[in-house]
Symmetry: C2
């Protein structure tokens, strides 16, 4: 086996670790925390199903690729809870180091390509990244709503959720209507505080 | 919210159940069985990383979509172990019924589109389906090898594995060299019987 294929297979085995990186979100049946591999799969399928809400300049195939790799660096950097202000202080630094380590496992052309997809996602500026980020925000919002605010109940406010969901509004006003309605209902039901 | 978007969101919540469908394959750290959502994510990333081994007529973006939805029907049909002859007798029937139920949740154009991707995958005839199926076979082979034949040790023979891996040979001879070498080494190490 040549060196290139060997590197690719080693990377494929390494990313099995995504299945052990736990997120704060729980499954809709309340049974346990979701992991990064499951979350990435879920939002990739969402990209397929919600493609019609993406603007004309969005390339859904690139969005799908982006969703598949957007959390890979958490293998080494861990998951940082969106509303954890302390954890988010050194997030960038931890993730940069993780990216350096992980993507170096691949042949350099591929490591560079996937790293660029991750960076593009992270910067949330291009239409593809905005749509991918909107899905990344929408999925845990849906989970939180059907699990009666499981993650929010540790003190998250509606204002914090609205700030985090701003990218959904940028991606598509109709999807943002869903977000607004969920936030309203969650406030009424006490899943979320003012 | 209109009926179409409501159906799409209900489908997105329903497929959360993929995270509870357990496969026979275990994680590479031996800790637990893998689930369908994790497996689907893993082979979708493999499609990105191993794209260069696909023939010129393969559309990798379609392969990625196919890998993401290829096991969805197992939400209702359950996972059938590849080497379980009894379970495989009524697999087709169980899966058809599951597909009817699941894809009917989506707006009809989308239900039809995803169902067609699943059927194409299942028939393993088109170049896209052959490549997707090869990844679907290769991933558990890698897992089995690094976990010292975990799933094979219940009595699977090298001949059975070779038959199951035939689609990898059809997809790409270089990937099949890896398969052959893993089977040889697994025989030598006693992970697999003759």
């Amino acid at each position: 086996m040549d060196e290139r294929l060997k590197q690719q297979l080693q990377f494929i085995l390494e990313i099995d670790k995504m299945k052990k990186i736990l997120r704060q979100t729980i499954l809709t049946d309340y049974s346990r925390q979701e992991n990064d591999a499951e979350h990435s799969w879920h939002i990739a399928v969402m990209a397929m199903v919600l493609a019609e809400y993406a603007g004309p300049s969005v390339d859904i195939n690139r969005v799908i690729r982006m969703t598949l790799v957007h959390d890979l660096i958490e293998i080494y950097a861990g998951d940082t809870f969106a509303y954890d202000t302390v954890g988010n202080q050194d997030k960038k630094e931890r993730e940069e180091a993780a990216a350096g380590k992980l993507f170096a496992m691949l042949p350099s052309d591929q490591g560079k390509e996937i790293r660029m997809l991750w960076e593009e996602f992270d910067q949330m500026e291009t239409p593809d990244a905005v749509f991918a980020a909107a899905l990344d925000r929408l999925q845990p919002l849906l989970h939180n709503y059907v699990t009666e605010g499981h993650t929010w109940k540790r003190g998250v406010t509606s204002e914090q959720v609205r700030r985090r969901m701003a990218v959904v509004e940028k991606a598509n006003p109709r999807l943002y209507e869903v977000v607004s309605s969920i936030i309203e209902q969650s406030l009424q039901k006490g899943y979320l505080k003012e």
